[in-house]
Symmetry: C2
Subunit: 138 residues, 2 copies
Amino acid sequence: MSQENIKGILKTHQLRITDCRMDVMQFFLDEKSALSQSDLENQLTKYDRVTLYRTLNSFLDSGILHRIPNETGTATYGMCHDTCTPDHHEHNHVHFKCNKCGQIECLEEKVAHQVSVPFGYKVDGINMIVDGICPKCA
Amino acid sequence: MSQENIKGILKTHQLRITDCRMDVMQFFLDEKSALSQSDLENQLTKYDRVTLYRTLNSFLDSGILHRIPNETGTATYGMCHDTCTPDHHEHNHVHFKCNKCGQIECLEEKVAHQVSVPFGYKVDGINMIVDGICPKCA
DNA sequence: TTAATAAATGCAATTTAGTTGCATAAACTA
DNA sequence: TAGTTTATGCAACTAAATTGCATTTATTAA
């Protein structure tokens, strides 16, 4: 994706265009997998640690990124598609976690299943995490 | 579940029987939902904070507890059933997260679906997190 | 029952993850 | 171009988790 497109995304979400934000978004687009703050910190060394946290939170608040559930106890983020808004994240895709390299990807596959829950439980959404081996590790 | 049963579980998993471990396991059995270290710390005030972390990690390592994926960035744990071993957790049940009270429960419902992934991806397991409103909050 | 052994615990300290405050710099608009 | 607001860097802080060490405790063999 070009720099102009990235600028467009920032504009669309009412965010100022800064070098840090451009680089963070570019990194997410290049990696195509879930990233944590420490991933950013290791890669984008010219930016302050706190700034990277703030950038992640800005993107989260504005609907550019979503948090991806994981078991590790630290937060991971993935790129949203066009369906998210600042106050309501709408995600219906499958997350794939590779058991070998640990990377988590947002797949294009939708969660199209209905799930049965016991009586009394109301279902609002489903989040599916598939684990296995990715093509790179197979 | 009786104290004797709890002792049996500890023995089965080659863990020593201590007051702390008995109380931690009893709490998980009473609550029937995902718990974090801070939940334990607030409730089981006679034990040292570090001991509670260690107890959770002992139970995790030995297959008594499993980590439950969530988005918050802190670790939550749930009781395993008999299918887990120390080196391999095997979970095929649905997690239900209430959007109102925040509790996460392991439901009895199995993830019985097959999911399609792109070519090249090998599926080992599926973890499904359903969010909605639980019977207590409905 | 006792002694030895290894694991569990408590306390202090440290590391890791995340947030807040403030001054300054930078983006944006009129 | 000037004013305004937002983003950034630095320092400090809080929250979550881990490590080190000495002591205590559970367990087992004799």
